[in-house]
Symmetry: C2
DNA sequence: CGACCATTTGATATGGATCAAGCGATGTGG
DNA sequence: CCACATCGCTTGATCCATATCAAATGGTCG
């Protein structure tokens, strides 16, 4: 069951755990296999648009390298980043007929792109693909629900959650290399970049983390962080 | 395509529109049909638990009458209501192997309950069911994403959004009969019940709505509300 | 009618936004 | 290689939206 999620998790057991997604791409059947076989590799420069909201949702995507942000702008200039997609992640399933969010490369990125109709007709013939389609979407739904919970927390909790999420998704457990700017993080957490800065320095003073430089964060006391996320 | 969503929408065209879900249950194939055929009807009293978080997700559900809240408690007593499910709505798809949210009856409710495995094995044989499974989940994902956007807005915007959502989901267009308390609404919008009250009276003073009683709201000026949601 | 609980309204407190200035890294031209 | 410009990040001061605390009102059920 759930082979595509297994692919994303790099394990044979499915896991719908909160933010537990170690993104290790391996060869497999189901959607992941289909994308590898029939998808085409495309490069996007930093800040290049992958798709815009209101655009037809005609493709599925898989991050090969780099990072992607899914975001939505509101008229008055605010921006909400709904998700960051990292290597191994499949995205674009969230859409109905139109995208609700736009997607941009956070840094230069390689993306596998696959035609939606091709996958859909594959799903009509292949149960594994159909199940993966559902599984991946359900998984994305759980991620979104978790993020919704996060937006109900206070600033220290949000930042701590973010660090733990990023640490989980990174290979090196306690060393985080951020692809994104403070502003990206702020828009992901529904805070301002100033508040992100303040919370990080507060955590550094509490000896929970160190900041070798602003894109690199080392976790020292996960317990403190875990207590904060309550 | 998308027959289950069509069922929920009560129209033959699929709609992934933001919060546009008129819940009219009609006889149909796909998941909705399956639930009607093989599901069992159960009654839940006000505030009765339908399922708890951490519980195994062994069933899908469809609201026949009444209303359901999907919520999550945090240790310190805070509660986030992630969704309200109204008559015609199918829920419980959001889960992986475990529920992330709990579900309770907001008022006395009749619910159709169907075994998950039964639906899954049906989906393995019937493409329509498999597609519905995906479509409904994708639809729930979009609803959750919209709600995530809402949690990034300010109080007046959130309340206005809520009123427009409820008006859309109600039959009588401009007359809303709320099943839930102020506290339920507050926890849905990430605000306090006092703030909900204040925003409603503010809207009443602005002649955008009237409040015949506290569970009944009449919309007079949707334009004002729509401007507020920005 | 009276008790109870939900809702509204009022007064005050506070967390995070905003505005503003300083700092540090990165890159460019002299 | 260094001076300087630029841009993102950090830090500080103040403000404001919403939470919190508290009291008044209203609606429901015995």
């Amino acid at each position: 069951m759930l082979s595509a999620v297994a692919v994303q998790n790099g394990s044979s057991r499915p896991s719908f755990g909160r933010l537990a997604r170690k993104e290790i791409a391996v060869e497999a059947d189901g959607i992941a296999g289909a994308i590898e076989r029939i998808g085409t590799r495309k490069c996007f420069h930093q800040n290049a648009e992958i798709y815009g909201e209101k655009e037809g949702a005609d493709y599925f995507y898989k991050v090969v390298s780099g990072a992607v942000r899914a975001y939505k702008l509101v008229i008055d200039g605010r921006r909400l980043v709904g998700a960051f997609h990292l290597p191994g992640n499949i995205f674009g399933l969230e859409a109905g007929e139109q995208h609700l969010f736009s997607a941009e490369a956070v840094v230069d990125a390689e993306i596998l792109v696959v035609n939606r109709d091709a996958v859909m007709s594959l799903a009509a013939r292949d149960n594994d693909v159909a199940r993966d389609l559902w599984t991946l979407t359900a998984s994305e739904l759980q991620r979104t629900q978790s993020h919704m919970l996060l937006l109900n927390k206070n600033a220290p909790e949000r930042v701590a959650s973010f660090l733990l999420e990023m640490a989980d998704r990174n290979e090196a457990d306690d060393e985080i290399q951020l692809a994104m700017s403070r502003q990206d993080v702020a828009d992901y957490l529904g805070l301002t970049s100033e508040t992100i800065s303040r919370m990080l320095t507060r955590l550094e003073k509490a000896a929970a983390i160190t900041l070798p430089n602003c894109r690199r964060i080392v976790l020292h006391d996960r317990l403190v962080l875990k207590r904060m996320v309550s």
